[in-house]
């Protein structure tokens, strides 16, 4: 498969781009923030995502979705990134849908229709510490009759406060860091014993700390096989890592486009600042980093869609590379804007904030560089 978008994918991009720019540009985020919106995103927009088919992009056609792949999800996420659109898309339409692929028909039937229609929001409750450490899973799942009892805490659960369902990784046997003994659950947030405390993050989105205080679930909430959730967990993570990479590529593109516009117009010492060679070389270097990040991201998504043996590694490469490139992009954007870039009134700071949150989510560049080293045996 050539490493660029095919015609169908280009067509999708041509649909998503004007939609996102029209319905949910940066002004949409600003308005939600200024209104102190307690959800941090628009349910109406989410339903529109459903109508457009976006939320079901990864859902099989048999289940009412578009039956597309991670490349297509990445197309949506890139536009979400470019417009800083607040949305539970990544956790729901990529993370939860990828999880439910491993679920039985009943569980699919329980959740997929709501996701496809844009009624249901799902969230990933996977992290247990401030730094991403998915290899260790401590939240306990004790057997109880035909079901389970969950006890423990998850954190950095994006949009957890608004989610209808949580994808939860739990320790059903073995030690905290064991590969085996992990079970995944689809937990209704309304389940007794689930409590959610949310905090607004720097980018105005919300993330929650979710407490599971002896939450009782019957066997139907288990995704896939008991004790055998590690492979699915890894696949969920590879999916959202690649997705977050696309979103970061979009964020970087958005910030860079603003910046290029700005330095083509702004004058200092009687000259357009974009004509100064030092800025030109920095902009050209940044462009190169971003192109490389884009290639790595698309590669990861193609690997996922092809079920390549390298999907795990490719996702880590993408997340690290996109994290570094987009970090450079937003730092250069603020610096090249000068003072105005520091003001809340101007949009460029929003890009910096969003980038930081995405860079951290599902492991930052340091985490993934280390992970790559382990995978490659050094």
């Amino acid at each position: 498969m050539p490493l660029f978008l095919d015609e169908t994918q280009e067509t999708l991009a041509d649909t998503v781009r004007p939609f996102m720019a029209g319905e949910a540009p940066v002004a949409h985020l600003r308005a939600l923030r200024d209104a102190d919106d307690p959800a941090g995103f628009s349910r109406d927009l989410w339903r529109q995502f459903g109508e457009m088919g976006f939320t079901g992009v990864l859902v099989d056609e048999a289940d009412g979705g578009l039956g597309m792949g991670h490349v297509e999800a990445g197309i949506v996420l890139e536009e979400i990134g470019r417009n800083l659109t607040p949305s539970p898309f990544l956790g729901t339409a990529v993370g939860a849908v990828e999880a439910l692929r491993a679920a039985d028909a009943a569980l699919k039937q329980a959740w997929l229709p709501g996701i496809v229609s844009g009624e249901t929001v799902a969230a990933l409750a996977l992290d247990e510490s401030a730094r991403h450490r998915p290899q260790s899973v401590a939240l306990k799942a004790e057997r109880q009759g035909n079901g389970f009892r969950l006890t423990g805490t998850k954190q950095f659960v994006a949009f957890g406060h608004e989610a209808d369902m949580l994808i939860v990784s739990a320790r059903s046997s073995g030690d905290v860091a064991d590969e085996d003994g992990v079970t995944l659950f689809a937990v209704p947030r309304s389940q007794p014993g689930v409590s959610v405390v949310s905090a607004r993050l720097a980018d105005s989105s919300f993330a929650a700390r979710v407490e599971f205080d002896g939450v009782e679930l019957d066997g139907s909430a288990v995704i896939g096989e008991v004790d055998d959730g590690r492979a699915t967990l890894n696949r969920i993570l590879s999916g959202v890592r690649a997705g977050a990479s696309s979103e970061m590529v979009g964020v970087a593109e958005g910030a860079s486009a603003m910046t290029l516009d700005y330095i083509k117009q702004r004058k200092q010492f009687g000259r357009i600042i974009g004509s100064y060679q030092a800025l030109q070389h920095r902009a050209a270097h940044l462009y190169s980093e971003m192109e490389v990040a884009r290639a790595a991201t698309l590669k990861a998504q193609q690997s996922l869609d092809a079920g390549s043996a390298d999907e795990d590694r490719d996702a880590s490469v993408a997340k690290a590379m996109a994290g570094m490139a987009s970090s450079l992009a937003v730092r250069e954007a603020v610096q090249m804007h000068g003072g105005i870039g520091m003001t809340d009134e101007y949009d460029v700071g929003f890009f910096m904030k969003r980038q930081r949150v995405l860079a951290e989510m599902f492991g930052d560049a340091d985490f993934h560089a280390d992970r790559l080293a382990r995978m490659e045996g050094y």
Binding site: A130, Q155, A199, L201, S327, V334, G338, G339, T343, D370
Partner: protein, 394 residues
């Protein structure tokens, strides 16, 4: 001579012991503990007010200014002794002010006798609080593009225009301000004007930063009348005064950066991440990045020490502050990137008690201005290239 200084030191110590309220010997806890003075200043405590008064009475808010202008009339050696003894007792700075740190030296250098007598004592006593009006929306580091105009109306100027990044303009009593008095020349047509912020036609609006609220304001002048004797230095020669001040400011800012600020990066990271089986910070790539940063940070601490030593000895290239400013601010930005990485998702919180209302994230975002304010990193690099390395004009 050394004996006299020792006598002086004893006297100072005794006097401080007797006159510095015990509350003023504790470290400041927040911005609120800073005494800025001025017409509308509300003292945080009686002790703060008393400490300012006794110090101002001796002229020790500005110990090395001449006595006739409200200063202490101390020699450099004596002023140093005072500073040392205040540090030894943990005495707070009695008065923080742009009047002292910025305008004062310029007034002493360029002011008329009348101007000095009018303004310096009020600065020394904390009666008048000043702000600085340099930057404009279309003239950041590039003062030659300055557009705020002061039209000559015979006995007064009529000032119109807008300033940005005026720190504490909403709380200041007077402003020192660059205005264009001649549109036919670029740098030559600028004058350095002093006027009352209560003058008719002056208004201010605070600037919200990406990190949250800030001391910065936008300041608007709409037909503000300013008497012509309120020009500092020659008319159309304000550039000279401004450069004198800018050099001063850059030195101040370059003193920042490096290791001094905030918690130790590695301790913070250890607290957040713990250790691996070999006792190392349990995040190997981040540990390496921190270690590489700490090399630079220690090295820059040595550089700062060297810079100050050479500055005191008068052995500094006049453009060296540009290098300090550049390196120190870039380093400080790196430091906060690493702090954010170590903090993980906790550090991303913006409005939560546990995060101190987003202390880490706001501090991180605030550092992004370090390499913009007081002359961007690009400007500093230009200065180094031209003035130190003597590379030719483009």
């Amino acid at each position: 001579m050394a004996d006299e200084l020792e006598t002086f030191r004893r006297e100072v110590r005794d006097w401080l012991e007797a006159n510095c309220p015990s509350e003023m010997r504790t470290p400041m806890r927040s911005e609120k503990d800073v005494c800025w003075g001025g017409r509308n200043f509300t003292f945080a405590s009686d002790a703060q007010k008393q400490w300012l008064e006794v110090m101002a009475q001796r002229g020790w808010t500005v110990p090395d200014w001449p006595k006739e202008y409200g200063g202490g009339g101390l020699s450099p050696a004596e002023a140093k002794v005072l500073k040392q003894e205040m540090a030894a007792l943990g005495c707070r700075v009695p008065l923080q002010s742009f009047g002292i740190s910025m305008l004062g030296p310029a007034l002493l250098e360029y002011g008329t006798e009348e101007q000095k007598l009018e303004h310096l004592p009020k600065i020394a006593r904390g009666e008048i609080r000043w702000c600085q009006g340099y930057s404009e929306p279309n003239a950041g580091s590039d003062l030659a593009s300055l557009a705020t105009s002061a039209e000559d109306k015979g006995d007064h100027f009529l000032v119109n225009g807008q300033k940005v990044w005026t720190s504490y303009a909403d709380q200041a009593d007077w402003i020192f301000c660059l205005v264009r008095t001649d549109t036919s020349q670029k740098q030559g047509g600028i004058s350095f004007l002093l006027f009352d912020m209560e003058s008719e036609g002056v208004s201010t609006k605070p600037i919200l930063l990406i990190s949250g609220s800030s001391p910065f304001c936008e300041t608007f002048f709409d037909d503000v009348k300013v008497p012509k004797d309120q020009v500092l230095g020659e008319i159309n020669q304000g550039w000279t005064v401004a450069k004198y001040l800018l050099g001063h400011e850059r030195e101040m800012i370059s003193g920042m950066g490096g290791r001094a600020q905030g918690p130790s990066l590695s301790e913070y990271a250890l607290g957040k991440l713990g250790r691996d089986e070999q006792g190392r910070l349990d995040d190997p790539v981040l540990r390496a990045r921190i270690a590489m940063f700490e090399v630079r940070s220690h090295a820059f601490a040595a550089m700062s020490e060297r810079f100050m030593d050479r500055l005191k000895a008068g052995r500094i290239h006049p453009a060296q502050p540009s290098m300090m400013k550049y390196y120190g601010t870039e380093l400080n930005k790196d430091r906060h990137e690493l702090l954010m990485a170590a903090g993980g998702s906790d550090a991303l919180e913006w409005e939560s008690e546990s995060s101190g209302e987003g202390k880490a994230a706001r501090a991180w975002l605030r550092t992004k201005a370090n390499s913009i304010e007081g002359g961007t990193s690009e400007i500093q690099l230009n200065i180094i290239a031209k003035r130190i390395l003597e590379l030719p004009e483009g």
